[in-house]
């Protein structure tokens, strides 16, 4: 049975709550400090994107166990405007908010699996997985 918990993102402080949840779950799965930092940073980026671009959404954390392989999944979903050009978003240095533009490609590098489902005007769902080695 996969264990899933979630945090709604409405304010900047919810990002901290999501991060805290992620760190606790990562600890429970058995990740070391480096991977814990990777996972919490990834959550921070995804949650901030929700806060900045969609206004509201949620971060779900799921503990995974597939054929004895343990891991953690971050599912960030919102009903915001969607991402118009996914390829551009994944380029380093691309930002529409004056930021560093390292968030999305950064999350991909921080995690093992990364998937974006997005539809204009409907919302975005990003799933990022880290496996325990």
């Amino acid at each position: 049975m996969a264990y899933r918990s979630s945090v709604d993102i409405h304010t900047e402080w919810d990002i901290v709550a999501a991060r805290q949840l992620g760190r606790n779950e990562a600890k429970k799965v058995g990740f070391g400090t480096v991977d814990q930092a990777r996972i919490t940073t990834a959550i921070s980026e995804l949650a901030r994107n929700i806060y900045l671009y969609a206004g509201a959404g949620k971060i779900e954390i799921e503990r995974l166990n597939e054929d004895g392989l343990f891991g953690i999944a971050i599912i960030a979903s919102d009903e915001g405007p969607g991402i118009p050009d996914v390829r551009k978003v994944m380029e380093d240095g691309y930002s529409t908010s004056g930021g560093l533009g390292a968030g999305m490609p950064g999350v991909k590098r921080l995690m093992d699996d990364f998937r974006i489902d997005t539809e204009r005007g409907k919302g975005t769902k990003i799933t990022a997985i880290k496996w325990l080695r």
Binding site: E12, V34, T41, R48, G101, G103, G106, R109
Partner: protein
């Protein structure tokens, strides 16, 4: 009716409290009463019943004061608001059942009874909710102030060298404060080298990095150099993975090493002296 209800409450107090407790136990399980000492429950339920009597017999000023004291005490006991609401509801249900059983209440005067009930339940609920939200608001405000006190002060350590230790989560508001304190401090303290210590920043994501880079750029504009110190190994790895370039910075793992570099930059060093 207005006399009979308080009279009944006063004479049947034990019975009401007992049956109310049973009802609470049925709904919340034993755990509700386990977490607090028996005498607290006993006293609180008695006060509560007393409050009801007072709401029906005493004038509104006296009642308001009692109500205020009562809700203040409940809040201080730290019971959850939903539990207190449930307790109030259960109490009135219990009273209703018992009044029915004692045949004080029948179909002819039930409307009148609900009128009485409304008059004490409503202000009671209102007061409890207000007291809770007041307490919460106060707590949040105090914590905000406490957080701000923790925030970012620039500390002059040596001539020309200042340190800003950053502790905790950096959000947009704090980032702004950091920037202001940093620039103001650099100018006032005539610092030439500023060390930003991020040992106690739990997460460095792109936003935090962005703010740090901006702060460092601004420090450069007022004629000083900014060093980023206290980069823990796991933070170093996430910064690399995020692809954040900190090439324009001098960075070190600890404040201690940063301080040595800062001294070197200002053409000084610390030497041990022979004591004689």
């Amino acid at each position: 009716m207005y006399r009979k209800v308080p009279q009944f409450v006063e004479t049947h107090l034990e019975e009401i409290i007992d049956s109310w407790k049973t009802r609470m136990k049925d709904e919340h399980g034993e755990k509700f009463f386990h977490i607090m000492p028996e005498e607290v429950i006993e006293r609180t339920s008695r006060d509560f019943a007393d409050l009801i009597v007072s709401s029906l017999t005493e004038d509104s000023n006296q009642y308001d004061e009692k109500l205020h004291n009562f809700s203040e005490r409940i809040v201080r006991l730290g019971w959850s608001i939903s539990l207190v609401m449930k307790a109030i509801e259960n109490f009135s249900d219990t009273l209703y059942d018992l009044l029915r059983k004692a045949e004080i209440l029948d179909d002819s005067n039930v409307a009148e009874y609900f009128d009485i009930l409304n008059n004490w339940i409503k202000p009671l609920r209102q007061e409890v909710v207000e007291m809770y939200s007041h307490t919460w608001e106060r707590t949040v405000n105090l914590q905000k102030i406490a957080l701000q006190e923790l925030s970012a002060s620039l500390i002059p350590v040596f001539d020309k060298i200042s340190v800003m230790p950053l502790v905790g989560t950096i959000d947009t508001e704090r980032a702004k404060l950091i920037m202001e304190n940093l620039l103001e401090g650099v100018v006032r303290q005539r610092a030439e080298v500023v060390l930003l210590d991020i040992t106690s920043v739990p997460v460095v994501d792109t936003m935090v990095a962005h703010h740090i880079i901006q702060a460092a750029d601004a420090v450069r504009l007022v004629g000083a150099r900014c060093m980023l110190v206290g980069i823990r190994p796991e933070i170093a790895q996430t910064i690399v993975a995020l692809g954040i370039s900190l090439e324009d910075f001098t960075t070190t793992s600890t404040l201690q090493r940063g301080m040595q570099e800062a001294l070197a930059l200002t053409n000084r060093k610390i030497v041990e002296v022979d004591e004689q």
